[in-house]
Amino acid sequence: MIAAPGQGLAIAREEDRTSAARTRIAVQRLAKRFNASGREFVAVDDVSFEVKQGEFVALLGPSGCGKSTILNMVAGLLPRSGGRILIDQDTVETGKVNPRVGYVFQRDTLFPWRTVEQNIGYGLEIAGLPKTERTRRVASAVEKAGLSGFGQSFPRMLSGGMRQRVALMRTLILEPEILLMDEPFGALDTHTKLEMHKTLLEIWERERQTVLFVTHDLGEALTLASRIILLSARPGRLKEDFDVAIPRPRDPVSVRETAEFGRLYSHIWHSLGEEFRRTRAD
């Protein structure tokens, strides 16, 4: 790949920063076993990785490889069967919410009885932020998400893409330093998905949260992430770890035309293909 000098510099700087940065998420020998009708099955087996400050890491793997399970354990939503998870050196406790961590669901979890503004302002409201300050921040979030004019609407009046924007803003308004995202755009159509990628890229390239993003969509992972962790088919194990050295700011459409995108796409596709075949062989 022949990069323009300026772009090459941008890559170098980004990599410098990440290598020197502190570790925000450390997953160590993580395991998860489920008991299904008396038979134990292993969902996640001996997975270790680290996410550093300001990294955008995509956790990629075939369906059922346990990537969402890993994310839910990182979020403390699910107890683990073995291993350790540290966020900023603190062990994650199941059921205890870390205020520095934001989580975006795949499923629509908006509160249907609250308007768009009330949904976005939920976290601020229960934190007891004064109303004037809340109104100001909610209004700016509504605008940032491209939802101007829909602040008073109830979620059912919105399209799937708009609802997911609301969900994203409901989490981002609390300014989490670490963002966990569980296939947040998995249920959206291609066009809407690209728009969401654009929104997320704009926000992330400005604010540089530490992101762990679960997806089974290779194109999505390459578009967004600075690093891709590839998981094997069940039981989920670490397969490969790639840096995505595509310069930023990225555009979700033109990013697909870069040489790096093509190279990584075919490489990871092969690797992923083996795992899909294994899944089907089961």
């Binding site: 989580y103 669901f105 939920y122």
Partner: protein, 283 residues
């Protein structure tokens, strides 16, 4: 075309007029025209009165046609139509309110706690299996002939209906919505206040509409079995005197009371559940 507002209203009024006409004159006409065996007994004014008689009874019971004037009539009869309606309405309201409040509270508590739900489950099922009417004499024995026993009866009927719906509604709350609220910083109590209760509210209201009718039934049955005042008492007295038109007056008043209570609940419901499509304010 045929279902435009005016057409529907026309048919509704036409049916009402037809019912009133047949009720008023049907028995006389059929007696004059038909052989005796074919005269419909259901139209006999002795049993079902007739609109003109009911109207007269209404004026008399309501103190509109008293020679001594409205005020003295009200004072001389301590179960006049106004007082009876007021008493029945008041008891229905309190019974409904206590029943709904305690039903919602119990439903939320048991719905949120697996432990309590399992401990109390069999008791709830057992108590609910008792036909509520069977308890009315007991309630009157305990609380006396006054208003308290009527409120208690209504409470008994309303409580279980509301309890079961609240319980199911609490159970049906989306787990991911609860998880989302927690991840956004909500405490257990905040989750209850901001997620569980609003989410279960649709289920609660589904039970409140029948519950308000049940409360009225509870109070009336209580008044049948033993009371000093109320619309139920009015009916029992009229029955003793075989006065069908007075019974009909009480029945019609109950109908209006029932409609008013239903409208009250319905408008509260459409305000609180305005986020649901079926309650969307029509433009």
């Amino acid at each position: 075309m045929s279902n435009s507002r005016a057409v529907i209203l026309f048919w509704q009024l036409a049916i009402l007029a037809a019912i009133l006409v047949v009720w008023q004159w049907g028995f006389e006409w059929s007696r004059a025209l038909l052989p005796k065996a074919y005269v419909p007994k259901v139209l006999d004014p002795y049993f079902v009165a007739k609109p003109s008689l009911i109207w007269q009874s209404f004026l008399r019971l309501g103190c509109f046609a008293d020679a001594g004037g409205f005020a003295t009539c009200i004072k001389s009869n301590d179960n006049n139509l106004w007082l009876a309606t007021l008493v029945t309405l008041k008891n229905t309201w309190w019974g409904f309110l206590f029943g709904a409040a305690s039903g919602i509270a119990a439903g939320l508590v048991l719905g949120r706690s697996d432990f309590l739900a399992r401990v109390f489950g069999p008791y709830v099922v057992a108590l609910n299996s008792i036909p509520r009417i069977a308890l009315v004499p007991l309630v009157i024995l305990i609380f006396g002939l006054g208003d308290l026993s009527k409120i208690a009866t209504a409470w008994l009927v309303v409580f279980f209906v509301v309890f079961f719906n609240t319980f199911e509604g609490t159970r049906a709350v989306d787990r991911d919505q609860i998880a989302a609220a927690r991840l956004l910083g909500a405490s257990e109590f905040t989750v209850l206040r901001t997620v569980v209760i609003p989410s279960a509210l649709a289920w609660v209201f589904a039970s409140l509409l029948p519950a308000v009718s049940f409360a009225l039934i509870g109070v009336i049955v209580g008044e049948f079995i033993g009371a000093e005042r109320g619309l139920g008492k009015l009916i029992i007295e009229a029955e003793a005197r075989a006065n069908a038109s007075e019974m009909m007056v009480a029945i019609f008043v109950m109908m209006f009371v029932g409609i008013l209570l239903a409208i009250a609940v319905r408008s509260l419901q459409s305000y609180l559940l305005r986020w649901q499509p079926q309650f969307e304010p029509s433009a």
